[in-house]
Amino acid sequence: MKDKRRGRHTVQFSSPPYIVSTYTIAGPLEGQGPLRDHFDAISKDGMYEQKSFEKAEAKMMEDAVNEVLRKTANLPEYIDYFVASDLLDQIVISSTTASRFPIPFIGMYSACTATALCSSIAAMLIDGGYASKVVVATSSHNSTAERQFRYPVEYGMQRPPYSQWTATGATAALVADSGEGPRITSCTLGCVIETGIKDPYDMGGAMAPAALDTIVQHFEDTSRDPDYYDLIITGDLGEFGHELLKELAQSQMNLKFPNNLSDCGMLLYNKDQGVDSGASGCVCSALVLFSKIYKELCKGAISKVLLVATGALHSPTSCHQGESIPSIAHAIAIER
């Protein structure tokens, strides 16, 4: 068993599982952004022809799963596990979606690290020999998340310039022990970091040290350098968090990235879309990874990617009670 572990926190898969297929559904604002041509589907509005935003989000996730099954000619009966995560209380979107499929369900809450954590667990299940096909899915919705974590959708207020915009959409991917596609070669799961930051609008500031911790841990465990990867992409630090991470890496660890460090939160929207520091939400990193980056990996335009998904693990109650925001980052290496 132990021969798959590298260093303290990294798992190196002996038969790296394949990401056989992905499906991405983007919300309306995301569908106007720079990645619009890379998404499989774009919802024309936030309601997605449903009666509530919550139903819309669940329907998006359900459609994404169905499309991945259809694209790969799989029936739900062929899938061993459905691993999903979202932002809403008790991960009800994932559970609702899971109720539509006769697949054993593993639901997880890990805030916006969803893609990395679900994919890590899927890869561990497969490489461990416990499953051969796993569907991973995640979603977030601006209107459901804003309501839960902040204010009603139509409530008028000004956001600070370092705030981020919760992305709308859903993605699903099929991870399997055979097939074609880029492979998940290793994963580094992170520890929870406390910075004492309490401002729920400053997630970049709260999460940057967690991202650095996981990145450095990954390099130490695998004896790799930043230039091993064509792309090291953090989940949703936003512009402010991204700058902070670069500064911390330089000043604290003397770590320089050879122009290959990016952030999904900075790639999802154009500057003029009024999203301040960038995107956030479970689906932020998923929409970027499973659309443009996945296609580039398949084509061979890039061959080694490290996704470092970041998550702010606060709850609305903990924030109102003045507690600081626990932060985490999980990394997965995807190579072709």
Binding site: R147, P152, L212
Partner: protein, 157 residues
């Protein structure tokens, strides 16, 4: 004062306070002056419009000042509520900020947006219990302030 702790990662050799200090130095600053100016102008416009309504109700409809003042407030609440329902208020507020939040338009917006948000949860557990979710603070501290001021006035005079 809570005591200062180092971050629980050996990769960042800063205490929580030192890190928060760094973050607040690097953080993009809220453009306070710009936002205050916008709030001043837009809030002023709303109040001028309110004054226009008040005079109109008094002069054209022959209302007393008290009655016209209530009618003006009701009209502005109606407009604020309508703009919220039609989805324009949040966009205006993103520009005007306190300019629309401080006048009674902000009160209307907080109630209508809550009502819209919680409609799906039904009349009792949804709208009924959440309607004053944001506006409740205004009412509670409005009443408390009125009581305290009233008490002081009655003691002084």
């Amino acid at each position: 004062m809570p005591q200062d702790k180092p971050l629980n990662t050996s990769r960042v050799k800063l205490t929580q306070k030192q890190y928060q200090q760094l973050v607040s130095e690097r953080q993009p600053k809220v453009p306070v002056l710009k936002r205050a100016l916008r709030a001043f102008v837009s809030g002023g416009l709303i109040c001028t419009f309110g004054q226009f309504l008040l005079e109109t109700y008094m002069d054209v409809f022959g209302m007393t000042r008290d009655l016209a003042s209530s009618a003006t407030t009701a009209t502005i609440i109606l407009i604020g509520g309508l703009l919220t329902g039609l989805g324009y208020f949040d966009k205006i507020a993103a520009f005007a900020g306190a300019g629309v939040a401080v006048p009674v338009t902000g009160f209307a917006n907080s109630m209508v947006s809550s009502a819209m948000e919680y409609k799906r949860e039904g009349l009792i557990y949804g709208i009924g219990s959440h309607l004053f979710g944001l506006a409740g603070s205004v009412i509670v501290y409005g009443v408390v302030t009125a009581f305290v001021v009233g008490l002081i006035v009655s003691l002084v005079s």
